[in-house]
């Protein structure tokens, strides 16, 4: 192999390493810091487990929820969101893909606009809606808002998957004697399983990591807080930021997402590659 060829081969690797390096360093520091008394750059000043003390009792004193209550809240939001988004998106996506009804076109373009709409601009309006419905500062309220923001994406994604299922299969099932609902549930849904799985992962992760909406529609690190909001409490106005504790909670929050990613990498790849790879 000539030197030139060898050099050519190395180039992509070098580029990849350079771009990924900051991220890797970031994670390295995160882990290091969570087990250190303090850090000086990338050097630890000593090992400690005290940063993880939030796992037992509340670091903020009485009246504040324990980490487990907050974790439960986050799970409720993320899983509730996943289920609601899947159910609504797969029904709406099917209807938009297969049925011809008045207003179909405008509904499609409207959801697309909603998807592109910056959600920040709606926060104040939604605040009034939630307060009127007595859902302000509740996990339910936060969940509903997040579902609403996730749906346009979910519906479009599912419509795309349904579009890829052949009409013949649906017709065959109807001739075999299935009702429209059974065709949807027994024939079409199983063939787009990868799409559903991928949407589930997206919805779960966006629910799990959400900060803006829980932060806006709950009060501080109260009983209704989610992990991201809870994390923010370590940054007080009057005390110095406890970076060790912040990194430990951050790492704690990362665990479920990391587990999710490990098990679903293939499915995520198939959705990024642009569609169902058949249901076999």
């Amino acid at each position: 192999m000539t030197l030139r060829k060898r050099f050519g081969r190395a180039v992509p690797y070098v580029l990849l390493i350079i771009t990924v390096l900051p991220v890797i360093v970031g994670y390295f520091w995160l882990i290091l810091s969570s087990f250190s008394i303090s850090t000086e750059g990338l050097r630890s000043t000593g090992f400690t487990l005290s940063n993880w003390s939030f796992l037992r009792g509340s670091p903020f004193g009485r009246g504040y929820p324990s980490i487990w209550k907050v974790t439960l809240n986050t799970f409720v939001v993320a899983i509730g969101m996943t289920i609601a988004v899947i159910v609504v998106s797969s029904l709406a996506g099917y209807a938009l893909s297969r049925l011809n009804f008045p207003g179909r076109k405008s509904f499609l373009s409207l959801t697309l606009i909603l998807h592109a709409f910056p959600s920040v601009t709606l926060l104040i309006g939604i605040y009034f809606v939630l307060r009127t419905l007595k859902l302000y500062n509740t996990v339910l309220g936060v969940g509903l808002v997040m579902i609403g923001f996730e749906l346009p994406f979910g519906i479009w994604l599912m419509k795309g998957f349904f579009d890829n299922v052949s009409w013949d299969m649906e017709r065959a099932a109807m001739i075999d004697g299935a009702s429209r609902l059974r065709v949807w549930g027994e024939i079409i849904l199983p063939t787009i399983k990868p799409g559903i799985a991928a949407l589930a992962i997206f919805a779960f992760i966006s629910g799990w990591n959400a900060w803006l909406i829980p932060k806006t529609f709950t009060i501080g690190a109260g009983q209704q807080a989610t992990l991201s909001v809870y994390l923010e409490n370590f940054r007080g106005d009057t005390v110095a930021v406890q970076w060790g504790a912040v990194t430990a909670v951050g790492l704690f929050q990362l665990i479920p997402v990391a587990i999710f990613f490990i098990f679903t990498q293939d499915l995520l790849l198939s959705i990024y590659a642009g569609g169902a790879k058949g249901g076999t």
Binding site: M169, A172, I175, D176, G177, A178, T191, T280
Partner: protein, 358 residues
């Protein structure tokens, strides 16, 4: 079961799928819908299946109008070009799905599915997924699924198009035999005229949503009612020449530039003195002989059993099937005999046959 289509039309806004189709199908008859793609044959089939609702007209099953009956109540079986097998189910589940929906008891279901699968020669593949089967096997599963509920009407939508040539030939025979043995009324949609000719009792030729002809294969072949039917049915296709027919010395002659052929009296009587008409003659009905119309061979294409010879006569091009023994060569001069009673004549305006018009 008898099927009757009465003034059946399907329109989507201005797009016409099927245009006033009228035809009867007898009990146990095998009918083919034949036509180029986009001619409305699949549209018509899907209306019979109940997937599309007719815009106009009626569909009769025996003595009942079924326009608004759902597909599942029609007791039909259908085989699709793409097979449309359910990829997440194994062969057994695919075949037994119609029975499951009918709530047939488990044991009964297993027995019936197995019987159909054995009949189709796939009884040993029950645990496989469709993706693990060859095209031919998938086709058999699709057939089994259509047959398992013992339908009164079988619909085929180009079922052999996705198979390779050799398999297509054997499946063609098998489907024909199966349908005849079971005595089920069948409608078979195809764009392949050989399939239609070989399998069907009667062929409905369609073009642009309209029914062009509805005849048994031999009649369609020997007595085409329209120019389109004549050109569409038969391979290699019929030759068409614009000629004028007149009577000379007791014989009828068809003539054009550098072309003069004697026409049988029966045909001549119906076409003489009508000005320009279109003469149609099949490549196999032209013979190369010592006397007749002279021309030059443009190209020779060996087909194995015959040679397809293209002959230039003045401005006109004529295809002839010739015996390879003759050893014809490009550029050679030949004389062609057109004097066959199988010669056809059509009106150039209406494109209808001048011989078989009703």
């Amino acid at each position: 079961m008898k099927v009757k289509l009465e003034n059946l039309s399907k329109r989507w806004g201005k797009v016409v799928g099927a245009d006033h189709i009228n035809l009867d199908i007898n009990d146990g008859e095998f009918v083919a819908f034949l036509g180029p793609s986009g001619c409305g044959k699949t549209t018509t089939l899907l209306m019979v299946a109940g997937i599309y609702k007719p815009t106009e007209g009626n569909i009769w099953f025996d003595n009942q109008v079924v326009n608004y009956m759902t597909p599942k109540d029609r007791n039909i079986g259908m085989v699709f070009q793409s097979y449309a097998l359910y990829p997440h189910m194994n062969v057994f589940q695919n075949i037994s799905y119609p029975l499951k929906l009918k709530k047939v008891p488990k044991n009964d279901m297993r027995e019936r599915a197995q019987r159909v699968a054995d009949m189709m020669g796939i009884g040993h593949l029950m645990d496989r997924r469709p993706a693990q089967l060859s095209g031919g096997q998938q086709q058999r599963v699709a057939l089994g699924r259509a047959l398992v509920k013992e339908p009164q009407l079988l619909l085929f939508d180009e079922p052999l198009s996705n198979l390779d040539a050799r398999l297509r030939l054997s499946m063609r025979g098998e489907i024909k035999r199966l349908v005849i043995e079971l005595g089920i009324t069948a409608i078979y949609v195809t764009h392949d005229q050989v399939e239609a000719m070989t399998m069907a009792d009667r062929i409905a030729v369609m073009k642009e949503g309209k029914l062009q002809a509805y005849d048994p294969p031999d009649e369609l072949y020997d007595q085409p009612r329209t120019l389109f039917v004549a050109g569409f049915v038969g391979n290699p296709p019929m030759n068409f020449l614009e000629v004028e027919v007149s009577r000379k010395n007791g014989d009828y002659h068809a003539h054009r530039e550098k072309f003069d052929a004697i026409v049988p009296t029966e045909q001549g009587e119906k076409t003489a003195g009508k000005g320009n008409v279109i003469m149609g003659i099949r490549p196999e009905d032209i013979t190369i002989s010592d006397e007749g119309v002279g021309g030059e061979i443009y190209v020779v294409e060996p087909l194995g059993r015959d040679d397809l010879v293209t002959v230039q006569i003045g401005e006109a091009i004529v295809h002839v099937l010739a015996d390879p023994v003759l050893g014809l060569k490009m550029g050679q001069n030949v004389t062609l005999d057109f004097s066959t009673h199988k010669v056809q004549f059509f009106d150039p305006q209406t494109e209808k046959s001048l011989l078989w018009a009703e």
